[in-house]
C-alpha cells in the first residue's frame, strides 16, 4: 500500500489545474482513472478548511450518484478520500464538446454530429432538472463525447446542488447559453437545438423557459425595462 511516499502523497500525473482542484491521471486497481484533488485554501483556518473541503467533496459525490440514478451519464466514481481530499473517477476516452465545436468552427460543421450532440445535451440537462438537480457549471468543457459510442458524458459536479426552482434551472441553462455564444457562435444556433431537445424531454420545461426569458433580460449591458 504505497499511496504515501516520504510524507507527500503521489496522486499520479498532473494533467490539469483549475481554480478549485488539480486533476491527475492515475490507475485504480488496473483501470485508467482520474484523481481530482480539491485544494486546501491556505488563507482559511486549517480545521475549517478541511471540514469545508470534505463537505464539498461529499456533495460532489452525492450529486454524481444522484445524476446517475436519474439516467444521466457521468463517469463512474471509484473512490472518495476525505483525508487526501480526492475523488477518483473512471477515465473517459474521448473529446470535450468544447474541442469538437472548436474544430467545427475551424474545419467546417458536420451537421449530423452537431445535431446529435446538441440533442444529447438537451436530454441530459432535462433529466437532471426534472430530478431536481442543477449542474451549476454547464459549459462545453464539462461535457465529453465518449470515443466509440459517441455518448455524452457530463463531468464536474463540483458546483452542483439540489433545487426545483425554475430560477435555478434557468440560470443553469443561461450559463450554457453564454458559454456557447462566447466560444462557439461559428457553429450556428446550437442553443436552440439544445433547448428543443430540452423541451421535448422535460416535463417541467414551461416554467423554466419562462424564467429563462427573464434571466436573459438581466446582466451586463442590458436595460431592465418592463
Amino acid at each position: 500500500m504505497d499511496t504515501c511516499q516520504t510524507g507527500q502523497a503521489e496522486l499520479g500525473l498532473l494533467i490539469k489545474q483549475g481554480a478549485e482542484a488539480r486533476i491527475y491521471l492515475s490507475s485504480f486497481v488496473g483501470r485508467k482513472c482520474i484523481v481530482k484533488e480539491r485544494f486546501s485554501k491556505k488563507y482559511r483556518h486549517p480545521i475549517l478548511d478541511s471540514k469545508l473541503t470534505v463537505k464539498r467533496l461529499n456533495a460532489e459525490a452525492r450529486c454524481m450518484t444522484k445524476a446517475r440514478k436519474l439516467g444521466v451519464v457521468t463517469p463512474v466514481l471509484y473512490g472518495v478520500d476525505p483525508v487526501l481530499h480526492t475523488l477518483t473517477f473512471e477515465f473517459i476516452e474521448g473529446h470535450a464538446v468544447k474541442d469538437i465545436l472548436l474544430e467545427f468552427g475551424s474545419n467546417g460543421i458536420v451537421e449530423e454530429r452537431l445535431n446529435d450532440i446538441a440533442a444529447q445535451i438537451g436530454i441530459a440537462i432535462a433529466k437532471l432538472h426534472d430530478g431536481g438537480l442543477v449542474h451549476g457549471d454547464l459549459t462545453t468543457s464539462n461535457m465529453i463525447v465518449k470515443e466509440g459510442t459517441n455518448q455524452l458524458v457530463l463531468i464536474d459536479f463540483g458546483l452542483s446542488f439540489t433545487s426545483t426552482l425554475p430560477e435555478d434551472k434557468a440560470v443553469d441553462l443561461y450559463v450554457l447559453e453564454r458559454a456557447l455564444l462566447s466560444m462557439h457562435s461559428s457553429c450556428g444556433d446550437v442553443m436552440e437545438k439544445i433547448l428543443a431537445a430540452y423541451r421535448k424531454s422535460s416535463k417541467q420545461w414551461s416554467a423554466t423557459m419562462n424564467k429563462l426569458a427573464q434571466v436573459r433580460q438581466r446582466g451586463r449591458k442590458r436595460t431592465m425595462v418592463g
Binding site: 486497481v29 483501470r31 461529499n58 459525490a61 452525492r62 439516467g71 451519464v73 471509484y78 473512490g79 478520500d81
Partner: protein
C-alpha cells in the same frame, strides 16, 4: 452469519450479489486504505471488505446480506496478499467445487442485485451493474 474471523483470515461473499470482480476490488481498495490509516469500521480487514461491498452504513445488516450463511451454496472467497499455501487452506475450508471467475456474470442474481443496491431502471439504461455497484461503494460515506 459469517464475519470471517478464522485462520487463515478470508472474506466470504455471497457470490450471487457479485456480477463482476471490479466492485470487489473497489471494496478491497477502500478497506486497505482504511486499514493503513487505522480507521477500520469493522474488526478485521477482511470483514471490512464485506462491509464495504454492501455499500450500506449498517454494519451487521451488511455482513449478513453480503456475507454467507450456513445454507449458502455459491460463495466468493477473497483474501489479501494470499500465498499459494493460504489459498489452498481457504479451498479446504469450503466444502465445494472451485469454478472460474468468469462464471460470476452468468451465475449472478440480477434481481437480487437490483433490489439490494436499489438500482432504478433509468440508471440501468446507462450503466452496467458492475459500475452501479462500484459507484455506491465509493460514495457510501459521502451520502
Amino acid at each position: 452469519m459469517q464475519s470471517a474471523k478464522m485462520e487463515p483470515e478470508v472474506a466470504l461473499l455471497n457470490a450471487s450479489l457479485v456480477p463482476d470482480i471490479f466492485p470487489v476490488l473497489a471494496a478491497a481498495h477502500k478497506a486497505l486504505v482504511s486499514k493503513s490509516r487505522e480507521s477500520l469500521t469493522t474488526r478485521t480487514l477482511h470483514s471490512e471488505l464485506v462491509y464495504n461491498y454492501a455499500a450500506s452504513k449498517h454494519i451487521s445488516e451488511s455482513l449478513k446480506r453480503c456475507g454467507i450463511s450456513d445454507q449458502m451454496s455459491y460463495i466468493l472467497a477473497v483474501r489479501f496478499n494470499a500465498s499459494d499455501d493460504e489459498m489452498t487452506s481457504v479451498t479446504n475450508l469450503i466444502n465445494g467445487k472451485e469454478i472460474d471467475l468468469e462464471e460470476l456474470e452468468p451465475r449472478s442474481n440480477r434481481d437480487q442485485i437490483l433490489k439490494h443496491f436499489k438500482i432504478p431502471p433509468q440508471e440501468l439504461a446507462i450503466s452496467s451493474l458492475s459500475d452501479a455497484i462500484t459507484c455506491r461503494i465509493a460514495a457510501r460515506d459521502a451520502l
